[in-house]
Amino acid sequence: MSTAVDTSAAVPLPAEGDGTPLKKRLRRAERRRNLLFGALILPLALVVLVAFIWPIGSLLTIGVDNPEIHDNLPRTLAVLEDWNGSAPPDEAAFRALADELAAAKGSPAIAAIAKRLNRENAGYRSLVMKTARKLPLDAAVPAREALVAIDAQWGELATWQAIHRAGGALTPFYLLAAIDRAIDADGDIVAAPEDERIYVDVLLRTFWMSLIVTVCCLALGFPVAYLMASLSTRHSNMLMIFVLLPFWTSVLVRVAAWIVLLQNEGLVNRLLMWLGLTDSPLQLLFNRFGVYVAMVHILLPFMVLPLYSVMKGISPVYMRAALSLGCPPFRSFWKIYFPQTLPGIGAGGLLVFIMCMGYYITPALLGGPKEQMLSYFIAFYTNQTINWGMAAALSAVLLAATLLLYMVYARYLGPTRVKYMKAR
């Protein structure tokens, strides 16, 4: 395009037809083309924006969003702004709190306040609800006395510190909790209590299980893909159907089938006992084994397909060349064939690994608590406790881990890394 512009600049051509200069007409023609290109990608760009970038962005904001106290107790927080935090605040704070709780009474706002404060300390929910029921206060009585009379906890420093702590518009609370960290009373970031630490382990477990599944998929998928790539089209199409078969049934059906197969009195155990390989049924379900088996089964096609497409593109002549150069078959395979499959291994591995990282249904149904991965807890907070802040924070952790992984992949195995591919 630039050469075209250069030419017209170097050789000024007389205006033609309607008298507009050539350069201008060129620009107009190009603008029209660019508009057309824009129009062509616009639907996709919108879909990506609406279905991908926006939700992920909103998700991340929910992970730090903290509106419950900030929006519902603004006056109390304003009073507490100048508070030194070493002793319960003065009457103005009590009055503001009493007024605002009274105003929130009977609306969802009171529940939001109660729920949020309860997260700071279990028990504050009933404190708030109980207090709200007895509001509004008699204007003649000092608010402090009246509130302490309703519940002595209002007279305690910790209660006010909790309100103060929970009052920011944004909070790192969920994100920190998602990596087993908490903020203590002094505002320092500390490790969460030992019996509440879980997510770092779960994240590591998610990585580890995904790795195992990926390796198993590779070990099982590589020979299949190799076979498919070397068979005649007719036979490889048949094999392809078998590989794709799992795609045609729902995940739940496949999981249910594995339950039937692997349970104590299932087919596998009965077969093992009939063969005399074991006396009592083996525990194949509700542990790692069952989860691995089912996940490998479900994800295998995602490994086989990229491998197959890469292998299909590797001419068998390379192996012949290696043999003709004096290299024995196995070494030829390892030195010549295998390195050329690396892009497929990378793509398939990344695909399987990332899908594994988000797995939820299979471990939930086939595994025990020790097999649950990060997504399980995201679902738990989304559905069960409706703590969407926590769900968003865990999602952010999962997203960050996945992006990190992708960057490692792009750096070491990705298309840009494999230099020789570029020239193709």
């Binding site: 926006w54 939700p55 962005g57 909103s58 998700l59 904001t61 929910i62 969003d65 509106p67 609306s107 969802p108 009171i110 529940a111 939001a112 109660a114 729920k115 309860n118 997260r119 279990a122 028990g123 929910r125 009933s126 609800m129 019996d195 509440e196 630490r197 879980i198 382990d201 779960v202 477990r205 349970q263 104590n264 009195e265 379900l285 509700f286 939930a364 149904l365 025990g368 608590p369 020790k370 649950q372 807890f377 738990f380 989304t382 559905n383 069960q384 406790t385 409706i386 703590n387 969407w388 968003a392």
Partner: protein, 346 residues
Amino acid sequence: MKHAASFLRAAVLVALGGAVGTASADITVISFGGASQKAQDKAYYAPFAKATGVKVVAGEYNGEQAKVKAMVEAGNVTWDVLEVESPELVRGCEEGLFEKIDFAQVGDKADFVPAAVNECGVGIFVWSTALAYNADRLKEAPTSWADFWNVDKFPGKRGLRKGAKYTLEFALLADGVPTSDVYKVLATPAGVDRAFAKLDKLKANIQWWEAGAQPPQLLASGDLVMSAAYNGRISAAQVEGKNLKVVWNGSIYDVDSWAIPKGSPNKADALKFIRFASQPDNQAVFSGEIAYGPVNLKAVPAIDAKVAAGLPTSPENMTGAMATDTEFWVEHGENLEQRFNAWAAR
């Protein structure tokens, strides 16, 4: 931020699916499915349709309040009547997810068990989580949660629901805490530690379940020797000929309630349905179908004595049983579930 939250809600709504878009003349009633839903159909849905001409579209969910929240906050309520457990009823009512119910339109408060009368809900039935076992597999019958923990006497895997609720109560009961003190103990950090310490002892022998249909299956197949189970599920398996037994001692009962999601387009019909389902005759039919107790006390005389003996509400079964403390779980649920998850994942 507001946009972000409402977007997530909409996304959850889409992702979770559910019963969407029904004709206005019908009402959509959502319950937990399974044997209980079948019984509801027989006792409530079909007769209600016959009596009023309002068709009941039955749907099921798994108790996810997120769905209700997403619907209500997105202003797209497609559910009219909803079966909820008691903590969700309390929380949802406080958070404005449910319509307030004028109890006078349902019946006389005095006819109902106290737990069935709520600001936003009307009780459906009394159900119980109890120790169940396969009588074909155990020579000697267990009688208490202490037996449940006794691996030497009763070797084999035990089933517990994957979650803190009930699990912690059972652990304390097994540790010798009397039913009247369970929630008092559990409200203290030391009590929580005690419950988890007791669970530690059984951990290797526990198989966790999530769906109510699992325990009877796993008991019948021999995968489990004992399990905590919903009593109605066990009685349904008994009807199918499975020799499963319930130990009522140490069982924990609760009331499931009807609630109307805020903004339901068929609120009047929904209320009519709840009133219908609260009638003694209909409640008696329900208890005949599944072993859950009626909340309307007037239904008791109408229930066959043999059936009554298998209900959580029969005086005999109430001995040694305890009621769940809804307030406690609303208050402490999040923390205890978090700690439970951390503990179970280790």
